[in-house]
Symmetry: C2
Subunit: 218 residues, 2 copies
Amino acid sequence: MTGSDKTQEPRVDKITPLDSSEAKWAELVKIDWTDQAGKPRVWETANRKTRGSSGVDAVAIAAILLHPSRPTCTMVIKQYRPAVGATCVEFPAGLVDEGETVEQAALRELKEETGYTGKIVSITPTIVSDPGLTTANMQFAVVEVDLKEDELPEQHLDSGEFIERFIVPLNSLYDKLMEFSKDKNTICDARLFHFVAGMHFAKENAKKYGLEASDSKI
Amino acid sequence: MTGSDKTQEPRVDKITPLDSSEAKWAELVKIDWTDQAGKPRVWETANRKTRGSSGVDAVAIAAILLHPSRPTCTMVIKQYRPAVGATCVEFPAGLVDEGETVEQAALRELKEETGYTGKIVSITPTIVSDPGLTTANMQFAVVEVDLKEDELPEQHLDSGEFIERFIVPLNSLYDKLMEFSKDKNTICDARLFHFVAGMHFAKENAKKYGLEASDSKI
């Protein structure tokens, strides 16, 4: 972090119980449900209060930065997350605003976070982040950005926003996440880590597990 | 679902606000924190109340089922999740019990869920499931299971547990998740989906993005 107005390490000062009626962003609810055998049961769940008419809370973006002469890169961000009292490494992401589609939110977030304009090459169905505990859902978009020769994928730093951006070659992203994780004050987002672990797994075990690349068959 | 004592579709009957003091498994908290510029701020977060001395809430397992003459498979489970009011597709997973290591929990869960005994070939650092909303954290283990020729990876169904297990070749897991997602009452876990999307991404784009398999270099 080199934001010019950073004066100190962020810290958690106090954690106190919060009543749902006083909360602005989140709430705790009790779900009475009936199971497959007809038995009444109870589940405790946390919700976001912010979900709009898209029905999807958030979108995360893997920006694929294609450069004519440099390795293909992506961007991850580091930001302090009070919930976990640590700096988190995540894909760029944001909540879907009321009135916009998830695809629009993905391209807006990318533009805001990086200045880049890209095209969506894939987007997942709606998926749920932690369905044993929360209702939170999301979609994950892969967005290609075609860079020109003199357009280097550079790190943007906004002072005041306290978000650090890292441009990392796709081929070394797994090693980078493992390196980040060695710092006791830094923790990776599970969704980012699973995507990168999946890439790494496919690369490392292509022959052993019969996962040969589709585009190398010619 | 073919559990013998299933009599009906599960359903959510009622959702009511829940006070943290009355909740057994989860709580809502207000975090007072100080940002990098020294400004006092507030964040709302949900916690699990069940975290033990391991410091890790849960473990998920990719079981790699190695058979002498069949394609390498893994197992995913489908279970109704009241939080999202839908059937979720997930990797086998469970909470870490007090007094056990995360590795022990992974092998215990695998044994309970599948009857198989495996060996852990990799386990992630601690990662966070949705750090904008909750403190929930986890580790993700890849476990190899060596099957004998006559030991077919078969689906186990426990009546009463209402968990359906699917043995799926690794090579077709992405297509299977996309197929599951087409059912409006079925939704995939984001972490499972990201892992599988990462595998698929690496396979589909190996040449284009310079992600050639490490074990195919000879």
